[in-house]
Structures are given as C-alpha cells and as structure tokens.
Amino acid sequence: MTTADDAVSPAAVTSGLFARPTKTTGWKSWLTTIDHKKIAILYGSTALVFFVIAGLEALLIRWQLMGPDGTVMSAKVYNQMFTMHGTTMVFLVGMPMAVAFGNYFLPLMIGARDVAFPRINMLGYWIFLFGGIFMYSSFLWSSAPDGGWFGYAPLTSQPIALGALPGHGPDFWTVGLIFMGIGSVTSALNFIVTVLNMRAPGMTLLRMPVFVWMIFIIAFLTLFAMPPVTAALIQVYMDRNFGTNFFNSAQGADPLLYQHLFWLFGHPEVYILILPGMGIVSEILPVFSRKPLFGYRVVIFSGIAIGFVGWGVWAHHMYATGLGPAALTGFGVATMAIGVPTGVKIFNWLGTVWGGAVRLTTAMLFSLGFIAMFTLGGLSGVMHSIVPSNAQQTDTYFIVAHFHYVLFGGLIFAFFGGFYYWWPKMFGHMLGEKLGKINFWLMLIGFNLTFGPMHLVGLRGMPRRTYTYGKGYGWEALNQLESLGAVVIAVSVLLFVINIAVSAKKRVPAGNDPWDGRTLEWTITSPPPEHNFDVIPEVHDFDDFWHKKYTEDEDGRLVKLTVPEAPSKPHGHIHMPSPSYWPCVLALGLPIMGYGFVFKAWWILGVGVAVLMVGMTAWAIEPHTAEENH
C-alpha cells in the first residue's frame, strides 16, 4: 500500500520527539486515528450533532414566527438564531457531511486502501470540529454572530465603535469561517489527489462511480471557491477591527465588492452542497432498480457543466443591488442556462428507474423523494432567472422556500438515503427499515408542510430575516402551518436517532452485500477491515461488481451468474500508516489564535501560534511509522 505518508525518507524514521501512537482500538484511538473510515465516522457524527443544534435553532425561529408580534426571543437573539442556523447548516452540516460520505466511500469505491494524505485528512476534521466549537463558544460572551450567514458589508464591516453590530459576533464569524476554510481546502486537495493517483488498476476515470465523480468535482469547486471568500472575510475583519476601508463607501469603497467576492464563493458553494447529494442518489437508484444508471456519461458531463457554469451565475443573488441592465441580462441568461444540465439529470434518474425492478427500501424512498423535491426546488430556482419578477421574490420567504427545497428536499434527503444505504457497510448491521419508512414519510410530510407554505407567504410579500411581523398582513395561517411542519420534521429526525439506537441493539447482521450492490465497497466485509481490500481489485467495467454477478441475454435482460468469486487471501502483512497526535495539536492552535484575533489579545494569539508551530514541527519530524509496525 502506498500513501504519501510512506514517501518520507528513511532518515525521518529515527528522529521525532515522541514515538507515534500505535493503538487502533479504544476511545483514545479516535483522537489519533488516520484511518479514513474512522475519520469519516467522526465527521459524520459531529455533523449530525450540529444538524440537531441547527435544527433546534430552526425550531426556535418557527416558534417565534408562529404568530404575529412573537415574543419568544428578542430581535438580537432572533438575528443570532437565523445567522447561526444558516452558518451551521452550510459549514458545519452540509459540507462536512459530504466530506464524511466522501471520506468513507471514495477510497472504497475506487479500490484504494486510504486517501492520499491520511494525516492531513485528520487535520481537516480537527479544524472543522474546533472551528465549530470556536464559533459556538461565542454564545458564552452573548456575542453570537448576528450578521446573517452571508455577512454583508458594510453591516458586518463597520467599525465596532460605530455600533452597526455591537459585540464580537461578526468577529467570531469571520475568524471561524476563515479557519474552517483551511479545513475544507485540505480535504478538497486530498480528494483530488486520491482520485487522480490511487485508483485500482482498470478503474479509469469513466469507470468511476458517479458519487466519486461528484466529490471529485466539488473538490475542485471548493479549492477555487474558498480563496475569494477568505479574502472577503479578512477584509471584513480588518475593516471592523482596524479601521481599514475595504468596504467603507465614505472613503470611496464600494460595498458591493463584498457581495461579488462572497457570491463568487457562495454560488459554487450551492453546488458544493448539492452535487454530493446527486452523487449519492445516482448510486442508490440503480441498485434498487436493478438497472444501470441511465446515460452515465451525460450525468457525469452535466455535473462537470454545472461545475463550470456555476462560476458564471453568482450575481443572480444580487439582482436588486443595481448592477445595470447589461449585467442583469448576462447573469439572467446564464442562470437559465444552468437549469438545463440540472434538468437533464432529473430525466436521467427517471430513466434509470423506468422499466426497472424497483425495491422501495428506505434509501430508495429518500432518493425518489429527492428527485421530486429537488425538481420543485429547481423550478422555483428558474424563477430567479426571470430578473424583473425576481425583484419581487428576492429576500422574501419565497427564496427561503426555494433553497430549502434544494438543500433540504435535495441534499438532506440524499444524506438520509445515504445513511440507510451505507449504514450496513459502515457498522455491519442494518438500520431498521420499518422505523426508516416512518422516518421518511414523516420527513416528507413535515418538510412540505414547513417549506411549501413559505412559497406562498413569500409571494404574498413576507421578507426574510425579520424577527417579527404585524397583524393583518395575511401571513398568520401560513406561518402556523410552517411551524407545525417544523415539529413534524423534528419528530422524524428524533425517530432516526431512535432507529440508530434500536438498530445498534438489535444488530441484524448485514453481510458483505445486503442490497445486491454494484460498486466495489460491497465486495468486502461490513464493516471493512482497516486496510479495506485484502487484494486490490482489478476493474474491468463500470459497476464492476455487478458485472461479476450478472450478465445480459440477447434481449438485454438481466441474467444471474452462478459463480461468485471467492475472495482471495491477503499476501502477507499489509502495511498501513500509523496514527498520529500532531494533526490534533496543530488544529488546536487555530481556535486559540482565533480568540486572540477576536479579542485582540495578542498574547493569546502568540500562544495559538506556538501550539500551531509545535504541532507542525512535531508532525514534520515524527517517525513515519510506529516501531511496532516494522
């Protein structure tokens, strides 16, 4: 097994302050592990916790808005809630959950034993965890971010003394996001190098599963989207804390620069969030239809097309800002154009299921739900390209409805489909199907009850980000329905958590291949051994495992082969990279530095830098393998 860790020169083996940790079991091993599967479970479980936290924030929001003149929260707290709900869902749920799935299954699906940079992989997780805790620690100073997840300047960038947003909310927000951006870029690089360098023999790019392709695409999007937003966030921090004038119109700056930089990241970010969902669904639908994905290449290339055109539509978030008719025309038409590759995928998914042998498992239900809900979200998305009518819808609940249909009806449904589909592989036991189906139907009903009426209330003129509304606007009944729906969603998520516990107790063994799967992860034991594959598989086809099990007759109908290949035994010892303390130490330096930046306490910053340097140095000189493994 070759990973980049192995490429260290022999001299490094003997140096190092401490020996590398060796344990791969027990709770301590989770702190030092560099096994991509364990890291994935850490990513996933942490993201799930943040999902519940952000969900609770959403419930508070719905409680406040249940009736006119709500008094559950003050305006200040409400503004913190919607800011943290959005920020959490995007940066602490959507992105890391995609990384969790990618981390676990990308190496398995391309027949690799780990990702290219195992220690950097772990570093990414620690940065994400510490970044999330850092941002949430702002509540201890009642200074939670309250500038919105988009953090528009000059509201966020006005010097603290001028009081646009008193307290340290935007400082926690900018510094936290800058650090988490580092984590995102490390995992993006890791995925790109892994896909390019570590595929099993015969796994050509156009034999890769769609999920791997989508992660590959979003890795590039992440890599290029993070720099502009990082620049914008640094500028906001500098304006706010040191009186620079990046966005100060009184000194001739144009605050719209912030929006351009933010959405130059923010729009690709939408695709960073949704493409993994599309990938997961593209794995589930063929398995439970017993048919190959309809138009594999079209799905891949429309994904790539979205990846490119996604850079040319950012200003559709800014139609009301006064860009002028030429820019509006260009971005309007580009937005219409991106609807086409997205629509193509929907038809391809329908074509996949059409004529298949459909098994309505929970995973399949969530995937079908994804197609339906995502279609609705796409159709309301096309409305944004109709620039003149967008002037009525932008910044209303219509937009809130739209992107929840894309990101909840799309991404979150896909995640849940992915949980039910891959749970047996990850933990060796099935996730309860009966509870799962109730979980699905409650979520579908709750979701539509919450976000369906938001279309209407938005079209009837209710703006976003308002902590209250008056009587007599005609919004009361719709808001009550939405709040009711939110409770139904909460119940369905609770059922999912119960299902996890109940299934873990029952432990219905999954076996290697419970769903009659098509891709490489189903060829190995559940859960997979630390080294994944006893023998690196040789790939001859797209859906290689499927073609080992089935063939087609002259009519193109499915015929089962009778000879399953016996898995061969490993040839001697498989060398895996050793665990390491240092990613955790290095990452710990960042939040400490963060407090230094937020409170402008330079000695704390110094401590953070010192921790960071210790982590980095010890990482660089630690022996590349533990003694015991020699």
């Binding site: 700056a253 138009g295 197609i371 279609t375 209250t468 009944a477 109908r557």
Partner: protein, 383 residues
C-alpha cells in the same frame, strides 16, 4: 367497523385528510383581515403588473413540468415495483436521441423565457418621462423622503419637501426614486407597486413605479427587504396615493413650519431644549437655517431621526410599525426601546446621538406625564 376493508378505511382517512387540507387552505385564503397586505400577487400600476406577469407566464411550463415529474416518480415507483415472478429488467444504459431531446427541450423553453425577460429588464431600466423625483434615504431603521422636483408638478412650487416613512404620491404620474444610504444596505420595497431595489451606500440606485387613478385614496404597505441590523423587521413604510390636485395641496402643507406660538409651546415643553428632541429630529419653524436646508434640499438626511413637523398628519410612527395614537406615542417617547429594539448599549456610550433607534427617555428623567404632554402636543394638527 371491523367489517370495513382496508381500502374503505383508507378512502375514509383520505377523505378526512382532504377535508382538513381544504379547510386549512380556506383559512389561508380568507382568514385574516387584509388591511395591511403587501402582496405582489395583486399588483397595482404598470411596473408591478408587468413584473408579476412574467412570473405568471413561467408558471405554465413550471406547473406542467412539476406535475409531469412528480407523477412520473409516483407511477414508476408503483408500476415497476419488484414482484415475485416478474421478468428481470432490461438493462438499458442510455438512449442518445432521448437524452438529446431532454436537453434541447428545456433549453428551448429557457430561450423562449429569455425574450420577454430581457426586454423587460431594459424597459424598466429606462427613466420614465415627466416623473416626480424623490430621494429616499435608508436609515437605521426608518425611511426619509426628500421630494426634489415638485416644481414640475406645479411651477408655483419652488421648494422641496421632506417627510418620513409615509410616502405621498400623485396618481397617474411615474415616481422616480434615487436611493441613498450613509450607513448600511437597505432595500426599498412597496410590493403592490414595484419590486425591490437595494439602497447601497456609495451608489445612487434608481427605481420607479406608478399608481393608477383607481388607486387614489388608498394606502400601500411596504418594508425594508435587506437585512440592516437589529430592528430590520421594524423598518416598514406606507404609500398614500393622492389625486394630482390633492398632492399639490399636501406638498404645500408640508412646506409650512410651526407657528411662532407653537414654537414657543414646544420650548416650554422642553422639546427644543431640555429633552433635545431637535438634535435628532427636524422641527419646521424652530430653526431658520434648517428650514432653508429642507426647502433647497441641502439639509436632507441631516438628522438621525425623522422629521416631526407634521407628525399629526401621519397615521403611523416608529418606522410605520405602530398606528399613531397619543397613548402609544406617549409610551414611545417614554421608553421607545421597549416598543422597537434600539442599540444604545454601553459599547456606544449613553449619548443619544450615538444611538441607533430612539433612546429611552425614562432613563434621562422624563416622567410619563411629560411624555404624554409632548405626545399630545406633537399630534395637534392645528399649527
């Protein structure tokens, strides 16, 4: 009941659910009193009508696609369900003609949509002829309006007029707005009359709308649509449509300041002096230079609080959040931050001019009786 087949039972449940859903919809449709609706779906005037017309045009293909895809999902999930004894499915890997088709058809639909969209973008961008011009200042958290070319309406009117939150416009004439802010971003939005346009510091964005003769005597509601900080939700506005003649009358009246007798009473109540109201609010007739500034436009956007000269003529206050009554106004003067969140916290110092929003006068020693007196004085419509 036991004899009922599951099908019958299911039908019953379905019927009940339908009934429940229908009544919920009915509730939605006519549940509330509609006095304050700001509903773009019921557009008034040319601009809003044409904007929403495009949306309705798109609703036709959107509905067809939505119904098509949703029913396809349900149908294939049921029709192709795996059943014992079924033949194994045919392995179809794709179909180039079909895939080309469902790439080209959506592209065509989009191309058709693009034509009226692009046309309307350029149409609405052009400045209308003979428009009444108003400069809108987005404040935290209220609206200031400065009427800059009233003389086009009536050559005898050679002054400008300044007011807050409640915008008055004549029917039948386009109103062309220049949007300004020296603080943060806002978005100026009167849904019944036009889509929103952001108020961006350092940029003079333009937007216009027109009200019809039918709309005379009506109020239209709106509010800030870009998150602008703490009290963003309370930054509302109203628009009143006059007949062209009435509008000129209204403008004339707005130009009149307080009489000398009224100014003296204001001083007696401490409005211009003790409580320092005039340090944040323009009060016509109390300061000659300020009066001149408003009349020639140089004094617009000079104060952190709204012009209170003709507060008695208005129907609402506090960013149009509350209906204007003496009682509520007194409460407001007494402890405003409890009615509408304001930022006057320690990081800003206690100085009222550093406040965003109306400060708390109870804390500066005002009594409830004094607040009531001031409120009653401000609401007297007799000048």
């Amino acid at each position: 009941m036991k004899t009922l087949k599951w099908r019958q039972r299911a039908t019953r449940v379905f019927a009940r659910a339908t009934l429940l859903g229908a009544s919920a919809l009915l509730l939605v449709a006519c549940g509330d009193d509609s006095t304050k609706e700001q509903n773009p779906l019921e557009p008034k005037g040319d601009v809003a009508s044409r904007q929403i017309g495009l949306l309705k045009f798109w609703m036709i293909p959107a509905a067809v696609i939505a119904v098509g895809v949703l029913s396809a999902v349900v149908i294939i999930a049921i029709k192709y369900r795996e059943r014992p004894g079924n033949e194994n499915p045919k392995q179809i890997h794709g179909n180039s003609a079909l895939e080309l088709g469902w790439t080209i058809v959506p592209a065509l639909i989009m191309a058709i949509m693009a034509v009226p969209t692009v046309a309307l973008i350029w149409d609405l961008d052009a400045k209308p002829k003979d428009a009444l011009e108003v400069t809108v200042y987005g404040k935290q958290w209220w609206w200031e309006y400065q009427y800059t070319n009233l003389d086009i309406a009536d050559p005898a009117i050679d002054f400008q007029v300044n007011t807050a939150n409640e915008l008055h416009i004549p029917s039948g004439r386009p109103v062309y707005f220049t949007l300004k802010s020296d603080n943060v971003m806002h978005s100026f939005w009167v849904p019944s009359l036009a889509g929103k346009k952001d108020v961006v510091p350092g940029r003079d964005n333009k937007v216009w709308f027109i009200a019809d003769k039918d709309d005379e005597g009506k109020w239209f509601y709106g509010q800030c649509a870009e998150y602008c900080g703490l009290s963003h939700a309370d930054m509302r506005l109203k628009v009143y449509v006059h007949s062209p003649e009435d509008f000129v009358e209204w403008a004339r009246h707005q130009n009149e300041g307080w009489s000398a007798e009224r100014v003296a009473r204001a001083a007696y109540l401490g409005i211009t002096d003790k409580w320092g109201c005039s340090s944040c609010h323009f009060l016509g007739g109390t300061n000659e230079d300020a009066d001149k500034g408003i009349a020639d436009g140089s004094g617009a956007n000079a104060r952190p609080g709204p012009n209170l000269t003709h507060l008695g003529d208005r129907t609402s206050f506090a960013g149009a959040k509350y209906d204007l009554t003496a009682e509520k106004l007194a409460e407001w003067i007494f402890h405003a931050p409890e009615l509408k969140p304001a930022q006057c916290d320690k990081t800003l110092g206690e100085s009222a001019t550093r406040c965003k929003g109306m400060p708390n006068f109870e804390k500066t020693g005002m009594t409830k009786a004094q607040a009531t007196e001031i409120a009653e004085f401000l609401l007297e419509s007799e000048q």
